[in-house]
């Protein structure tokens, strides 16, 4: 800035230069800490004195007007710097406050859904153990084993919720680094289906996988969780005897496509945009659920540079399409080694 002013010094007076330098100091104050700002103000005063106030190229000032001008510049530059910095501080504080309020709101939603989602299984466990421990009870053997299996179910549910929370915090921390390795997607899909066996009782699952699907290089654990959450979600919301279809193929752009469809009621059009938001729950939806499952799906898919889209099928039902760019290798190349 000083250099530009210097080159222009033949056209503009040294008093104009002072204003240009002041602007520079203000700009610096907008981006840097207090110490460099004051230093900049000080240097600018010196530069102005040395290069511009006649006689130029000395620190000496002859004219008494200029002495006053210089000291005024010196003070204004410092005050200007300090004030701009202060304003910035206040703004920062304001932003922080707003941020805090948002987090607080988020926490409240979280606590509400969590207290339901965690307390239900806990109540089941406490209630069931109380009944079982009661010395005077006349429980039949059937009822006893029923209670015990309820305890077991409740604990598994708790465990799943804790898993969801941990995944969420992994995403929030921003340190989610996919660890890619060659994956047999066929194996992965059936792995998830087998894990969800209990939830799929009374429902039909149809798996359509491209024959000779190549190996795909991606994070098995992340994709497994994505598919698990999508299918698990479907099992909760489709009616008895509903059908879930999982299709896997590689598209023209050599991206891995996984489509999970069901023949349930689908999602209200108005809310489709929100379903991937953290803690979002459909209006009129059944109680239960933390609104974390689908937001984890989105987070994980995006961590793998992919995308997930939700649409309603024409014939009714929801259709999730997960698209992930990934390196692929054809099995044939290896088999013929």
């Amino acid at each position: 800035m000083a250099a530009i002013s210097f080159s222009l010094s033949s056209f503009i007076g040294y008093k104009v230069v002072a204003f240009l330098l002041l602007v520079t100091v203000s700009l610096i104050a907008m981006f840097f800490d207090i110490a460099p700002v004051l230093l900049a103000a000080f240097i600018s005063a010196m530069v102005w004195n040395y290069f511009f106030i006649p006689p130029r190229f000395t620190f000496a000032i002859q004219d008494s007007d200029n002495v006053i001008l210089f000291s005024m510049y010196f003070i204004i530059a410092l005050v200007n710097g300090a004030l701009t910095f202060k304003i910035r501080e206040v703004e920062k504080k304001e932003n922080k406050k707003i941020e805090k309020e948002n987090t607080l709101k988020l926490y409240n939603t979280l606590l509400n859904s969590l207290s339901h989602e965690l307390r239900t299984p806990i109540s089941t466990i406490i209630g069931a153990t109380d009944t079982l421990q009661d010395v005077n009870n006349k429980l039949s053997a059937d009822n006893k084993s029923e209670l015990i299996s309820e305890i077991s179910k409740a604990s598994l549910r708790l465990n799943r919720q804790v898993g969801n929370l941990l995944n969420m915090s992994r995403l929030e921390s921003g340190f989610l680094q996919p660890k890619t390795d060659w994956c047999d997607v066929n194996e992965l899909v059936y792995d998830v289906v087998n894990q969800l066996q209990d939830n799929l009782q009374g429902k039909k699952i149809d798996v359509k996988i491209l024959e000779n699907l190549p190996l795909v290089k991606l994070d098995y654990g992340l994709l497994e969780q994505v598919l698990f959450n999508l299918v698990h979600n479907a099992t909760i919301y489709i009616p008895e005897n509903g059908i879930i279809t999982i299709s896997v193929f590689i598209n023209k752009d050599k991206k891995l496509l996984i489509v999970v469809e069901d023949n349930g009621n689908g999602f209200p059009e108005k809310e489709i945009l929100h379903v991937f938001e953290k803690f979002y729950r459909l209006k009129n939806s059944k109680t239960g659920g933390t609104g974390l499952g689908l937001s984890i799906v989105k987070g994980f898919v995006e961590a793998m540079n992919g995308s997930v889209i939700l649409e309603n099928r024409k014939g009714g039902g929801a259709k999730f399409t997960v698209e992930i760019p990934a390196e692929i290798t054809h099995l044939k190349d290896i088999e013929n080694e």
Partner: protein, 226 residues
Amino acid sequence: MNNAIEILVIDDESQIRKLLNITLGSNDYKVKEAINAREGLLIAANHPPDLILLDLGLPDESGHVVLEKLREWYTKPIIILSVQSNEENIVKALDAGANDYLVKPFRTGELLARIRSLLRNHLTESESPIIKSNDLEIDLSLRIVKKNNEAIKLTATEYNLLALLIKNEGKVLTHQYLLRAIWGPSYINQSQYLRVYIAQLRKKIEDDLNKPLHIITESGIGYRFV
């Protein structure tokens, strides 16, 4: 029951110790408990148990360190119990000589199955060359694999892979370990070979390719033969 099999549990959580004590005790194992690394190492040295269940998160010293110290002299099976489910931790423990791992919360049926299989392996090591596992039978001296008493054709690599897995029945073998052992050290990052051969092996030995009962995938870690 003087000759009962002894299991040492090293875990700082009293609830877990109690659970294990009851579960293992009612399955005729004799249980010893240690509440921290120091005590665990002491008990193991004074009277070596037949198997050790080791928690990774101990108050005084990391379970990884305890594992290393134990492996300096202790050759019997060690199973890791841990709440840390990240793969790196598990692979690290397996590479340091743990025979198996279970992530808390674990199912007791699973734990008992792993203990049985490790103890069986340890007791029958270097005995007959024929190993049977349900419908499968493998003759290590003749290099023959039979399913339901019918010989199945395997390529040399397929056979080597299967034989290695079967010899370590019940134990998780990490991807790197398998690649190094079957294909050689320069292949340890070429996991695509392993994927393909596992898929081919499953086609030949599993009843339902999509519900494998013999070769189980431990996602992000390796494979286990059961």
